[in-house]
């Protein structure tokens, strides 16, 4: 049972703007990842949740063996990413944040040339490509050029491409960023299916619903550090109340109102456009708000989410407030 984890990181650090441990002239050293510990076991679906700039993508690039760690220990598939980069990458499937398809080639050609990078002979790659296109529901576009495809189709093709070598570990960097809701759900559904089949997925996201749907276990990252770790459910239980009351007050200033809410629920958070009251019983808290003579323009009781966990841990929201 003591199988080595697929990813093993201890005190992992990534700094930019330095050469061999010393700052480059005229550049400030920026620490993107600041000493994180991570273990991912085979068959797990693991997530890095955090806002833009938290260090998620830098971590993913180190795991993908295209970015050497600045300090700490990193083992991927039991191997050293510095010395065994090609051997490790042969067993990874990478779906990068920015599309990197060859727009001039057809859908199938993209898979075939990519299979070639892994030394997979064409005779094996062809049935594999057909099977993967079936899986990502692009069979009817197999011979079309990639360029005119929608963003969601391109992303699905990129996911198919990441599976072409039957990887031990699939890395997905922000797999649904930039997609419209319908396309996003289609991608989620495909990834969920992979997860059900026991494929080891590691993904980064700044969407809490994505993390909740896809991750068995996740770490919350902020400013290059891990601030919490656990299953989505255990994180919510540990760091938030069962329910949340969202109060809006039209154009009124919220700070003074927050004072009047003190004592209701466990905690009150003031956001630019609304006040959140954390309480295990949302309806009781709503009644208490009205008892104090406050008249919010809208009241919403919902269950706590990872967004609330993040807000509690960092004092900030995951996704920029839309106002």
């Amino acid at each position: 049972m003591a199988e080595e984890p697929l990813i093993h990181a201890r005190g992992l650090v990534k700094r930019f703007g330095e050469v061999r441990g010393r700052a480059k002239r005229g550049r400030e050293v920026f620490t993107a990842v600041d000493g994180i510990d991570v273990d991912v076991q085979r068959g797990e679906s693991f997530g890095f949740l955090g806002p833009n700039g938290a260090g998620k993508s830098s971590t993913m690039r180190m795991i993908g063996c295209v970015s050497p760690p600045s300090a700490g220990t990193l083992r991927i598939l039991g191997l050293d990413p510095i010395h065994d980069g090609p051997r490790i990458r042969a067993r990874l499937g990478v779906c990068p944040q920015q599309d990197s398809l060859d727009l001039d080639l057809s859908v199938t050609e993209n898979l075939l040339v990519y299979a070639g990078y892994f030394g997979i002979p064409r005779a094996m790659a062809r049935p594999r490509a057909a099977e993967l296109l079936e899986f990502v529901q692009l069979t009817d576009r197999a011979n079309d050029r990639v360029e005119p495809l929608s963003g969601g189709m391109k992303r699905r093709l990129t996911i198919a491409r990441a599976l072409v070598n039957e990887p031990d570990l699939v890395l997905l960097d922000e797999p649904t960023t930039g997609l419209d809701p319908q396309a996003r759900h289609l991608v989620w559904e495909r990834l969920f299916r992979l997860k059900q089949r026991g494929v080891t997925l590691v993904l980064t996201t700044h969407y809490m619903d994505e993390a909740e749907q896809l991750c068995d276990r996740l770490v919350v990252m902020d400013k290059g550090r891990i601030v919490a770790e656990g299953s989505p459910r255990s994180l919510i239980e540990a760091h938030s109340t069962r329910e949340v009351l969202e109060l809006r007050f039209g154009g009124e200033a919220l700070e003074p109102l927050a004072g009047k809410l003190a004592g209701i629920g466990e905690r009150v958070e003031v956001l630019p456009d609304r006040i959140l009251v954390y309480a295990d019983d949302g309806d009781a808290a709503t009644a208490a708000v009205h008892q104090r003579g406050l008249a919010p323009s809208s009241v919403l009781v919902r269950r706590s989410s990872l967004e609330d966990v993040f807000l509690k841990l960092t004092g900030r929201t995951l996704v920029e407030e839309k106002g």
């Binding site: 990478v94 001039d104 030394g119 997979i120 039957e166 026991g198």
Partner: protein, 273 residues
């Protein structure tokens, strides 16, 4: 709703491929696959245009030059090998600029290759193989046209093919190194205007470098194109080269080796962070 077969397994399937042997060949194969789709567009710039130059300059200007008779052979025969070399030079330049910047910046296909077992040196190697194919095919096509025009005077003309490959790698690798460093493509147009066009005009394609002032002559000597032109012309006319063919080959090889080393370093830097 159909159920697609399992795309990957929890156990980690036995690798589809054999042992990991990263090589430039899959990169070449990718580029060639794309070329098969778009080759028609390249025929004009790398074949029709040079032939038009040959006819236009060689026959029209040639009729005046030949009256003076100072070259010792028809002007058409003089510029044909020069145009062959300059075509190879321009194909190498073109293939090392925008398409390479696309791989790093716009299509990001090099980053996709980098996520596989391929190393940056394999990506560079695949590019060079592809440039060889493009430059070699352009040179060979032009040689056929030259033969039809009766401008080939020596069986040594076949040596223009290896010379073209050497000229292509000598001219392409420094440009590949540069293309791996840029954030946007504005400089390509400037390079074309201030390096490629002057080289084409003054590196003995259309007239001997002896016609140039001494200072400008040295610039021509530094350019890989002049050495390529000298070798190509010697091969098709069966005449001696300016310095002795060995020195021209050594000079081009030096450009190729230094260019490749710098390009490999820049590809590594660009694809590792």
């Amino acid at each position: 709703m159909t159920t697609a077969t399992v795309p990957a397994t929890a156990e980690g399937s036995p690798a589809l491929a054999g042992p990991v042997r990263p090589s430039p060949l899959p990169v070449f194969r990718h580029l060639f696959t794309a070329y098969v789709r778009t080759w028609r567009g390249s025929v004009f710039s790398s074949f029709v245009l040079p032939v038009m130059f040959l006819v236009g300059m060689g026959l029209s200007v040639g009729s005046y030059v030949d009256k003076a008779g100072s070259l010792g052979y028809p002007y058409l025969d003089y510029i044909a090998p020069g145009l062959l070399a300059s075509t190879v030079f321009q194909v190498a330049f073109n293939e090392s600029t925008y398409p390479v910047a696309a791989g790093f910046l716009w299509l990001r296909t090099f980053h996709a290759m980098r996520a596989s077992p391929l190393r940056p040196a394999d990506i560079l190697g695949g590019e060079i193989l592809y440039i060889w194919l493009r430059a070699g095919a352009s040179g060979a096509g032009f040689l056929v046209v030259m033969t039809l025009f009766g401008t080939v005077h020596s069986p040594m003309a076949l040596a223009t093919i290896p010379v073209s490959l050497l000229l292509a790698v000598a001219s392409a690798t420094p440009v590949l190194a540069y293309s791996a460093t840029i954030k946007h493509d504005a400089m390509f147009a400037i390079l074309f205007r201030f390096l490629v066009i002057p080289a084409t005009l003054f590196a003995a394609v259309f007239f001997p470098v002896e016609q140039l002032p001494a200072a400008a002559r040295w610039l021509a000597y530094l350019s890989p194109l002049w050495h390529g032109v000298e070798l190509t012309r010697a091969a098709t006319l069966g005449t001696p080269t300016a310095l002795g063919w060995m020195w021209h080959v050594v000079f081009l090889a030096a450009w190729a080796v230094v260019g490749s080393l710098i390009a490999r370093r820049q590809f590594n830097r660009r694809l590792t962070d």
